[in-house]
């Protein structure tokens, strides 16, 4: 099956691996705020999804379109998709897209996917690294009326079908699914490859295509915060008291032995 068309949904998020102390809640605005030290990145599992698409393209050829919805998407961050080998980058970028829930976000992504028109495989992350919802991929599949396989660690495409491995709690399933389909990718698939210098230079020259709600046939009232079907009523950080008793010793080994004695004394072991 030559020329398989793939769409990879990739979202920009604050670096989820930044130290927890840099994530704060602004209780007035009911928003997460992260310090300037926390750099924007492509959501982790979306990078794995991109890698899955690239592996298919390596084998079969075809086209990868990276699709991202947001407001103020940092070009240098999202262009990584082009640098590693995506062919096109489409941004749904507008203030109106801000503050959406899974419902409004999935519907906007689907409107864009329909406008793109050709798709055999839509790849998403298993969950986004900010809201951790794990819904959009399945939402897209439902709205489009196509099948979906979640938690995928391996994909092979042959003859209008995909053979995938889906992670289950005590192993994995080998599943065959008809195309077009949505696949949500998990971390065991493997990390995203590094961009080559050539890739980075080519990406620098390319400009993303930017669509506003009207470009995908949606009213501002249908997208972002206005299109929500669930309300965020409160955001908070449970307080925990730090209370670690650090066990010392002359040497690290002695500290280890002391830990054993302390845990026995505390009747933990």
């Amino acid at each position: 099956m030559p020329g398989i068309n793939m769409i990879v949904c990739s979202k920009q998020v604050p670096d989820p691996e930044a130290p927890p102390s840099l994530f704060k809640v602004d209780t007035v605005a009911n928003k997460m705020v992260t310090g300037p030290e926390v750099k924007p990145v492509i959501s982790q599992y979306d990078e794995f999804a991109l890698e899955a698409a690239l592996r298919i393209k390596d084998k079969l050829g075809g086209k990868i379109t990276a699709l991202s919805l947001g407001n103020k998407i940092v070009r240098d961050v999202i262009k990584k998709a082009l640098a590693v080998g995506a062919d096109d980058l489409i941004l749904l970028e507008d203030e109106a897209f801000d503050g959406g829930d899974s419902w409004s976000t999935a519907h906007a992504l689907v409107a864009a996917i329909k406008k793109i028109g050709q798709y055999d495989l839509i790849l998403c992350g298993r969950q986004s690294s900010d809201w951790d919802a794990g819904q959009i991929g399945l939402g897209i599949a439902e709205i489009l009326g196509i099948p979906a396989v979640t938690l995928v660690r391996k994909v092979e495409v042959t003859d209008r079908k995909a053979k995938v491995e889906r992670v289950i709690p005590d192993g994995y399933e080998k599943i065959e699914v008809t195309l077009p389909a949505v696949i949500t990718v998990t971390s065991e698939l493997g990390a995203l490859r590094y961009a080559t210098l050539k890739g980075i230079m080519a990406a620098a020259k390319k400009q993303p295509i930017v669509w506003k709600p009207a470009d995908i046939g949606l009213e501002s009232s249908q997208v972002g915060a206005a299109g929500r079907r669930i309300k965020l009523t409160k955001l908070f950080q449970p307080v925990k008291e730090a209370k670690c008793e650090v066990i010392e010793g002359e040497t690290a080994a002695e500290a280890g032995a002391n830990l054993a004695m302390r845990l026995r004394q505390a009747k933990l072991l």
Partner: protein, 332 residues
């Protein structure tokens, strides 16, 4: 339009009624009582057997059983047909799923089919006494914060994190009062677009992670598969526990995926959780914060794991662990 009423638990069976289902019934019972409405449970499979009676004993007023040879193995495309039909016929106010392999797939599908938005991985659920709406509390930003969501669209669909809720006391006498309703739903096989070719189980020998009273977990700082099989295993065996891991060892293939603890791995709550060379990222803590006691061994005194731990040692595991294990052998 008819009003949505009652709480529906989408149950799971793993030879018997799954523990997540008893937890959902425990939580659902409380919500139903607060609403003064019924709690029902949906069970789907080829042979349901005693699980239906068990669901009653664990709090359900009504159990819908849908038995069909086509439902022997879980497949999203067939199971969703059943869940959708039952939800449309019975019009529940609230639908509860487990945040499991199955619930993660079915809940979003059901929600999108019914035109509602859901909350996944909820830790707490309560009824707002004024609005009667469900307050859905879930972790966000990898566990760095929690959010409370409310939806006015019916039904209110959520998935619940395993071990976040407690079952009610099993009441064998209640079994006679409960109402078991065998329900026929014909599965449209043309709508099943996936085929499971093979299920491969990667058996972990010894104590199961979820049941282990003690877990000894290693992180990226173990630097390879060996220590998981030797020094961590030895310590785990000594403590009648199991070996766990953070995500990097699982991603790198050092350990089976089934040992991966965290937001996207297993949620565990042992008495004692020993984290070795794990930095304590929020996404990892999300999987082990229910442990009674966390103990950290890490060479970096600034590592976040020390903010979570009750006891800790700063230093290299290569030096600390052998001495720790040997001393324990003497003491135990």
């Amino acid at each position: 339009m008819a009003e949505n009423k009652g709480v529906l638990v989408c149950g799971e069976i793993d030879s018997k009624l799954a523990s997540i289902t008893t937890e959902l019934l425990g939580c659902g019972r409380k919500l139903a009582d607060d609403l003064k409405e019924d709690l029902s449970c949906l069970l789907v499979g080829d042979k349901i057997g005693d699980a239906a009676k068990e669901a009653i004993a664990f709090g359900a007023d009504k159990v819908y059983t849908v038995e069909d040879p086509l439902l022997k193995q879980y497949q999203a495309d067939s199971f969703i047909q059943v869940v959708e039909k039952v939800a449309k016929d019975t019009l529940p106010r609230i639908v509860l799923f487990g945040q499991t392999s199955m619930g993660r797939e079915l809940a979003p599908r059901l929600a999108f089919r019914l035109g509602v938005c859901l909350s996944t991985d909820c830790l707490d659920l309560t009824i707002d006494p004024n609005t009667k709406l469900l307050r859905q509390t879930r972790p966000v930003y990898g566990g760095n914060a929690q959010a409370i969501f409310v939806s006015e669209f019916m039904p209110q669909v959520v998935t619940v994190r395993p071990k976040a809720m407690s079952p009610i006391e099993r009441d064998a006498l209640k079994q006679v009062q409960g109402n078991i309703i065998p329900t026929r739903i014909s599965i449209d096989t043309t709508k099943v677009r996936t085929k499971v070719l093979e299920t491969v189980k990667e058996e972990v020998v010894g104590v199961k992670l979820e049941d282990a009273p003690v877990i000894v977990s290693g992180g990226r700082g173990m630097r390879g598969p060996e220590p998981f099989k030797t020094i961590l295993k030895e310590l785990a065996d000594l403590l009648h526990g199991a070996v766990g891991a953070s995500r990097p060892p699982a991603d790198n293939g050092w350990v089976p995926e089934a040992t991966h603890v965290g937001l996207t791995g297993k949620i565990v709550a042992p008495d004692v959780y020993i984290a070795v060379a794990i930095s304590g990222a929020s996404q990892h803590i999300a999987g082990c914060s229910g442990s009674k006691h966390i103990i950290a061994i890490n060479k970096d005194p600034e590592a976040n794991i020390f903010k979570e731990a009750e006891f800790g040692v700063v230093g290299k595991w290569e030096e600390i662990l052998p001495a720790f294990t040997n001393k324990l052998k003497e003491l135990l």
